[in-house]
């Protein structure tokens, strides 16, 4: 595995700086520029965190799905490293989504939590990928751990279409999507300033996500190099 060059480190720094800038812009747009919602008032501003968080988590689990599938097919360590790094970040962003939703739910629904289909399926998603991380640490044989985790990573991904469709299939307290609606374009249902706040916030989350992913991936890569060097010494 290659040692990161100064250029790679510089690229990481640029990505981190861009993420910080975009997040600052997202915060300004979400908390200052965007108008309050006509029905929900100021509390709706939590949605500028909630939606980007869950979309980032979905992206992360998609990378787990791809990395796991590629690992089972080609048995290349880099795919497993990608799946592992993405799963850790997916758990982080799913946990944040649940916390944000809960804080929004209290003033809007009157409860911190309810066993609604979408909320429950999202909690299951979090448990599946927390289980994925635990499974990896419980099995000593590295290849067996990677294979078992890859299978769980693929199965877990099937929960995401269920989460998305749950608001159509069951009677839920959670409202249907405002942005990803099949019948209307986002700008037909959401105020342009709110849509911009959401888009800027989402770009910030994406940049932050790829910055954290690059750091986490490199940690995994270095751990592999350390293991290989130690084995070499032992042999």
């Amino acid at each position: 595995m290659a040692q990161p060059t100064a250029a790679v480190k510089k690229r990481k720094g640029i990505l981190g700086g861009a993420a910080l800038l975009a997040i600052t812009a997202g915060l300004c747009w979400s908390l200052v520029i965007a108008p309050p919602d006509g029905y929900q008032g100021e509390v709706q501003r939590i949605m500028y965190l909630h939606l980007p968080s869950i979309l980032t988590a979905y992206l992360s689990y998609f990378l787990v799905f791809i990395g796991s599938g590629m690992y089972l097919w080609k048995r290349e360590k880099k795919d497993d490293l990608l799946a592992h790094a993405a799963a850790e970040l997916g758990v982080l962003f799913t946990a944040l989504t649940i916390v944000e939703g809960s804080i929004w739910g209290k003033p809007t629904w009157g409860v911190w939590w309810t066993w609604d289909a979408r909320l429950t399926l999202t909690a299951i998603l979090l448990l599946i990928y927390a289980g994925y991380l635990m499974l990896r640490s419980l099995i000593d044989d590295e290849q067996r751990a990677a294979s078992a985790a890859a299978i769980l990573g693929i199965i877990g991904f099937l929960d995401i279409p269920l989460i998305h469709m749950s608001v159509y299939w069951w009677r839920t307290l959670h409202q249907p999507p405002s942005i990803l609606r099949p019948d209307k374009k986002p700008w037909e249902t959401v105020h342009p300033a709110m849509l911009t706040a959401l888009a800027v916030s989402f770009v910030g989350f994406l940049l932050l996500y790829f910055y954290l992913l690059s750091l986490r991936y490199r940690v995994g890569e270095m751990r592999q190099e350390i293991k290989a060097l130690r084995l070499e010494r032992g042999a």
């Binding site: 946990a95 944040l96 209290k106 932050l208 750091l215 940690v219 270095m222 350390i226 010494r233």
Partner: protein, 51 residues
């Protein structure tokens, strides 16, 4: 708690968790980098001694 209280709580928790995770990740990164450099330099010394 008023509406801005809930908004502040949500934004505060998200910022705090992300900053803490970033610091934790940075620490893991530096530890792994230091360990790797140590192993590589001792390997270089060993191969130099053999030579």
């Amino acid at each position: 708690m008023g509406p801005w209280g809930f908004v502040s709580l949500a934004y505060g928790i998200v910022c705090a968790v992300i900053v803490l995770y970033w610091l934790f990740l940075k620490r893991r990164y530096r530890q792994a980098e230091a360990e790797l450099n140590r192993l590589k330099s001792s390997e270089a010394v060993q191969s130099h001694d053999k030579g």
